[in-house]
């Protein structure tokens, strides 16, 4: 009998090797032409090539930087605005339709504006990341505040919490678990959007790397970039997941 802990590590590894083998097998029997489906070996060689040329590392840093800046700007603006809106019903009534409108508008629709307003380089991509993450963050924070059990505010009143202290010591910790979840979700959106954002208006970045590979019909290089994007996305989500282990937020996930 295999222990559950061992199974937890073994099962995904088995699936991974299964998929790799399937990939290898399909390219071995030439089910698709080599230019349409690169073999695992081609991708491995391309990895080595991109790494030794320094391109891959440069693109990783460029993308991470853009996502980080766009994401931080939208968190720094979005969370306080969400807190404020959650506390004021008239603000909600006034702004929620507009926020919902923009939330459902694909951030990629802003590409022409991004290029026109910010030209090329980091800024249009940062702008697109901001547009992709700001609205969901505001809405999630706002909903979290509006659904805080009223008992917390009564207790706060009993113990004379007012103004900024009420905000920082009651409202904010009460919504923090949901805000962390919203951060994880919107980071996921940001990481998806960065690839598309960098296909236009950028000279480097992981999205640009895929675009370049497509232009050169180098699908082996495209797959190499895709693997990096997937792995980095997972890795950063694991980092953000560490926030849920903070002692002051555990209650939000264990009740």
């Amino acid at each position: 009998m295999i222990k559950p802990g061992v199974l937890r590590f073994m099962l995904p590894i088995v699936v991974l090797f299964g998929v790799l083998f399937l990939w290898y097998f399909i390219s071995y029997i030439n089910l698709f032409p080599a230019y349409a489906l690169p073999s695992p070996g081609d991708v491995l060689r391309s990895f080595y090539e991109e790494l030794s040329a320094g391109r891959l590392l440069n693109d990783i840093i460029a993308s991470l930087w853009r996502v980080a800046v766009g994401f931080v700007i939208s968190a720094v603006l979005g969370i306080p605005i969400g807190l404020w809106m959650g506390q004021h019903i008239h603000a909600r009534q006034a702004f929620v339709p507009l926020l919902n409108f923009f939330r459902f508008l694909s951030p990629l629709a802003w590409i022409p504006f991004a290029i026109l307003w910010f030209h090329i380089g980091d800024r249009p991509a940062i702008f697109l990341i901001f547009m992709a993450t700001f609205f969901p963050l505001v809405l999630a924070t706002m909903v979290a505040v509006a659904s805080i059990p009223s008992i917390y505010f009564r207790v706060a009143q009993d113990y004379h919490y007012k103004g900024i202290e009420l905000l920082t010591k009651v409202t904010f910790p009460a919504v923090l678990p949901q805000v962390i979840t919203a951060l994880r979700v919107s980071y996921g959106i940001a990481w998806v959007v960065i690839v598309a954002a960098e296909m236009v208006g950028c000279q480097d970045g992981l999205g640009y790397g895929i675009w370049e590979a497509r232009n050169g019909l180098r699908l082996d290089s495209a797959v190499c970039y895709m693997i990096v994007i997937g792995l980095l996305g997972m890795g950063i989500d694991r980092l953000l997941a560490q926030l849920t282990k903070l002692p002051g937020v555990r209650w939000g996930y264990e009740r």
């Binding site: 207790v155 009993d158 113990y159 004379h160 209650w251």
Partner: protein, 249 residues
């Protein structure tokens, strides 16, 4: 021993309240004397919680006047503790008026000892049983400068044994730190065990239909003669009959 009850004062005069067209209270007069434990019982939905909300000032009455003197704190049915704070931090909320850190720490230690929860000082509420959470909440309302405690069915979410235990705990804590208490419950046995005075409320719109003083010293066991006769009297006031053969009809 900190007797904070003498400074307190709670009076409702001809208070009426309604929610829309539904009249909940009608011309209610109520005086809670300093140091007294007044328990209000009544059918569910009769407006018990409304009375507490009026006493605490969370809602304003449609008519009548309310006088309150002293710092009021409320114990809720459940989840009154802030889940993001530890037991210590929650209790310390009640000690915010103490400026001196050393004194605050000493007071916190004393309270933790009083509720026998020193080992759980750094636990979060979700890591505790319902009874422990309510004990921590009692410590928080008793901390520092509170004068009046309002209790809104504080033990109703607990199982029967925990409830019995918590009633004894409350009596013990009030012995050590006397406070003026306004307590609402639908549990008649609880009222008979804890009250200095029981007010039986009628159904909506609520008025006080019966008043009963219980002089027997506390703690009172559930089989104590005064408790049993109080239960009988409350039953009668509520219009419920007890027959020896078939129990309650």
């Amino acid at each position: 021993m900190k007797d904070k009850s003498s400074a307190s004062h709670l009076v409702l005069e001809k208070v009426s309240h309604s929610y829309g067209a539904v009249s909940v209270l009608k011309d209610l007069n109520l005086v809670v004397n300093p140091g007294e434990v007044v328990v209000m019982v009544g059918p569910s939905g009769c407006g018990k919680t409304t009375i507490l909300n009026l006493l605490s000032g969370h809602i304003k009455p449609i008519s009548g006047s309310i006088q309150r003197e002293g710092i009021i704190r409320t114990v809720y049915q459940q989840d009154g503790l802030f889940p993001w704070l530890t037991v210590s931090e929650n209790i310390s909320m009640g000690l915010r008026s103490i400026a001196d850190d050393v004194q605050q720490a000493a007071e916190l230690y004393e309270l933790l000892e009083l509720i026998h929860m020193k080992d759980f000082a750094h636990h979060f509420p979700h890591q505790l049983s319902g009874g422990m959470r309510q004990r921590a909440e009692l410590a928080r309302v008793l901390a520092g400068d509170s004068d009046i405690l309002l209790m809104d069915e504080p033990f109703s979410a607990l199982d029967y044994q925990a409830r019995l235990h918590m009633r004894n705990e409350l009596v013990r804590l009030l012995e050590k730190r006397p406070r003026t208490v306004g307590f609402v419950t639908h549990d008649i046995e609880e009222a008979a065990q804890l009250a200095d005075r029981v007010l039986v409320l009628s159904s909506r719109p609520a008025t006080i239909c019966h008043e009963l003083r219980i002089e027997t010293p506390k703690p009172r066991g559930i089989t104590n003669h005064s408790v049993i006769s109080a239960i009988e009297e409350i039953f009668k006031a509520l219009g419920l009959q007890i027959s020896n053969e078939t129990g309650i009809n």
